[in-house]
Symmetry: C3
Subunit: 403 residues, 3 copies
Amino acid sequence: MSDLTSVPTRTESRTEKASRPRPRSTKGNRLLPALDRAYYLDPHWLDVDRKAIFERSWLCVTRADALPRPGDFVRTTVGTESVFVVRGRDGEVNAFRNFCRHRGAALCLEPQGSFGKRIRCVYHSWTYGLDGRLVAAPNIHDMPDLVKDDYGLHRLAVEEWLGYVWVNLDADAAPLRDQMLPQLVSRLGNPEIFDRYGIGDLAVGHTITYDVASNWKSVVENFMECYHCTSIHPELTAALPQFRTGYGSISGDSPGATFASSVEGFSLSGKASRPPLPGLLPEDDRLFYGVILRPNAFVILVPDHVAFFRLEPVDVGHTRIVVDWLFDPAEVAKPTFDPSDAVEILDITNKQDFDACERCHLGMRSSAYSGVLVPAEHIITDFYDWYLAAIGQTEEQPAFGAC
Amino acid sequence: MSDLTSVPTRTESRTEKASRPRPRSTKGNRLLPALDRAYYLDPHWLDVDRKAIFERSWLCVTRADALPRPGDFVRTTVGTESVFVVRGRDGEVNAFRNFCRHRGAALCLEPQGSFGKRIRCVYHSWTYGLDGRLVAAPNIHDMPDLVKDDYGLHRLAVEEWLGYVWVNLDADAAPLRDQMLPQLVSRLGNPEIFDRYGIGDLAVGHTITYDVASNWKSVVENFMECYHCTSIHPELTAALPQFRTGYGSISGDSPGATFASSVEGFSLSGKASRPPLPGLLPEDDRLFYGVILRPNAFVILVPDHVAFFRLEPVDVGHTRIVVDWLFDPAEVAKPTFDPSDAVEILDITNKQDFDACERCHLGMRSSAYSGVLVPAEHIITDFYDWYLAAIGQTEEQPAFGAC
Amino acid sequence: MSDLTSVPTRTESRTEKASRPRPRSTKGNRLLPALDRAYYLDPHWLDVDRKAIFERSWLCVTRADALPRPGDFVRTTVGTESVFVVRGRDGEVNAFRNFCRHRGAALCLEPQGSFGKRIRCVYHSWTYGLDGRLVAAPNIHDMPDLVKDDYGLHRLAVEEWLGYVWVNLDADAAPLRDQMLPQLVSRLGNPEIFDRYGIGDLAVGHTITYDVASNWKSVVENFMECYHCTSIHPELTAALPQFRTGYGSISGDSPGATFASSVEGFSLSGKASRPPLPGLLPEDDRLFYGVILRPNAFVILVPDHVAFFRLEPVDVGHTRIVVDWLFDPAEVAKPTFDPSDAVEILDITNKQDFDACERCHLGMRSSAYSGVLVPAEHIITDFYDWYLAAIGQTEEQPAFGAC
């Protein structure tokens, strides 16, 4: 599915580009109410988020190259479900709920490993193919009820895209592109921009995992607005002076933000340590894009690398975020490869952001809290609208612990 | 009560032996539904288990020889109640809830110790005899309402049997034999088999405590079926080849399983390190019995030793299991006594079992889980029937968190 | 407000002194029922306590000298609310809920520190004066809705008294004296006794923080009764033999208890290490007073020092208690100052008391628990009456988890 974004014709893309949302003029310079704190604090609403969003959406769960050989697996969590993805004998990735159909024993405990040729439950040796079909069980010939086709592993929908494995707990889900393409069009206008970075062909140069004491929605909102940039991001705003306006990328004519004139590359030193990625055009030079692929991925695009975020709600007040820094494989292969300049500026920025999210999580606990969005944050109402629709909630205020 | 099993006449015993249950022919080779996962995962149902079973049954709580002298106590938990057993001045063991009748202070905090001649609450010095009667309190002569007989400690029913102390939170409970004898008869046919091991006269040679991240019911079920034996117990099935059928002891004519012909004793090496227990008959030689004494004890009988399990639910997903290896005291007294051959084979087997229970506890968390029992596991339905009757539940599926 | 207790005329005080409660003759020598265990164990009732008592009362939150300069703050918790107190530019202390009015970020994370001249939210730089008024925000001139007066920090009522800062979450609360004076009158008869110790002018010589695994109400009750003194306080009763009666200070004609004849001062050695506090009269010599300032402060008065307790419920079964030992500043300033004799006797006594509270918290967990108050403890019913009225509860027994 590496061509997800290449399907629309250029004409369509251009039309869609024209409709890229701007700060909503109808809301002008009003203060708008922030979402009720219950959605961030009450475990009830995390249950709702998991069931309505994380268990019904395509989620990014692992690098595809974490599964190089048939039988290799990665175990993860989708909503409240333990699942695993496993490379099949045909080279395709499969995804299953992590329990045996007999008595429920978990099939893998380690975060990553190999099943070998078959998936054998250690408890009673019910044995499944890498495609999830039941292939053997002790005494099976004495059990006419045990029809193999009825007892295969519970399958998830799975696709590979951008070098990552994406799963959907709903095995009959519409394709990943139906979820992602509208987001790319809405954000970038022309999704071909996204394609040019060739993310699926890049290699991981560095990875950092962040554990943030905040609800996952605060992390998304933080990524959407730049009103905070001047306050907490001196390094970022030195590289991207447009971010000092408070409006981030959404304030200009282009969906991307332009580097400061003194800056060669998106790095802490401001220097460019490597050439642009192979597929880029001259018009992509010196631009920074931040793209959200709801519900659980963010992508940052700069000329010489890509940063890929995937997040997972751990509990109502904790979110795990894994960030991969992706580079041209030819660069990563060099003995002199050093990603630290690219890593440092974003790692500093991430820590500034996540500290702010944690402060909001603490402050929202006050029964007197009700926040406001300033005009530069109006774009967050797009997220509210999406979120409330996804959980089937009108915009009325929820009661704590209510459904 | 060491003669609990000797009461029925031989005639009665033989009759009962004839009715020992076999794999239920009426269920044939069908797959049967496993119990709903809510009973294993939802804290509500542990509360129910505690109130309906653990607070209304005879439970094994400690070795009797842990209380050698008057005043010696062992503190433990029955359901959700902190209780202690204490050796009285008359040599009998008493059992009480662990709080002072005045303001509720816990009377003992340590797991084991001595009260001395009286049980004195440290807070205000209300003082009780080792029989639980209030005998003194400061200013008591100025308080006509403080009638000593009204303020004795809350008593539990208590009996000694098999060298263990058994208590029942219901002080007026029917005798322990009413709970245990039917189980022995049902399992062994002739309960005299059990008597011949003289368990009450044996001495502890070794003890291991296991903390298992699983509901207590999974541990019981694991002990009941042998469909898993070939998968996870290579050492056990080498000693007891009959267990490779998947049916364990229930598959043969005898209630016991016979050692492999190459095996002298139930040990990791297969060698016999000591003579049979004194009371055994030639017909007991080379046999292995596993006996469940619901709700919280298991016994394994082999010619030269006995293993005694007692279990306690710690929370809905944790169970503590203490296993004593019991030997002829004359053997334990020898300077050369070494129980390791007997300990090792069962300790290995226990760890294999408890790992499997923990995997089921993890896998059952999936909302898609619903297990099945194969014919070799049909005997577990006896446990389901007992359990559902004990908690007053019909076989309909429970809702999570419902009563 | 250092003159809180000096307002009533002497005549009024004497009248009130005459009505100081004695052990209630109408209850005579009866046993009275203790408060239901649910109030101590069920998290529901801690929520009620917090909302009905801790969020509606004046609470002692910190030493005033912890805030020497404008901008200095101390962060604390009132009920479930994170708040901070901060010294203003005018030298007065202000108190606010700890969140920014924009998106809710906590304004301070450290337990103590300095904001400098202004309180700046780190997230988006909304900036408040030390008086809580909004003074600046990025882009504020483009936001006509952002009327500064509407977006000041949420203020608490605050007063300084006895050298401590007291706050009330209700910004419109009646003054602190309305809460405290009746308690002083009720306890001491003549509140001028209290004034003579000049507590507001004393200096801290030592501080100990205790974490007690008990509900906060058990700590208050323990402080009220002395039926336990003979049992657990050998050092205290050696100094104050009157406490051996079980009635503590309430048994004599004076509201204070008199030192043993062999004792010079309230210290572990019995020696007096320093002169009486400056304002005391000869009639105050050799007396010990314990005074409760509900809901969260206790004071112990002895001739040469004062011990000041403030407590905070951490959860339903945990209470944090900070005890300051206060001395004449001239003594504390001496190079030879050594508070250990005064600290030791009370620290030993505190540990004895808190151990007893923890034992009650454990023992009350029994479903069979229902405690009784003996005549020497009847004074605790005053606390029950106050408590049940404060939470709007009749004296009927509560159900666990009910409102």
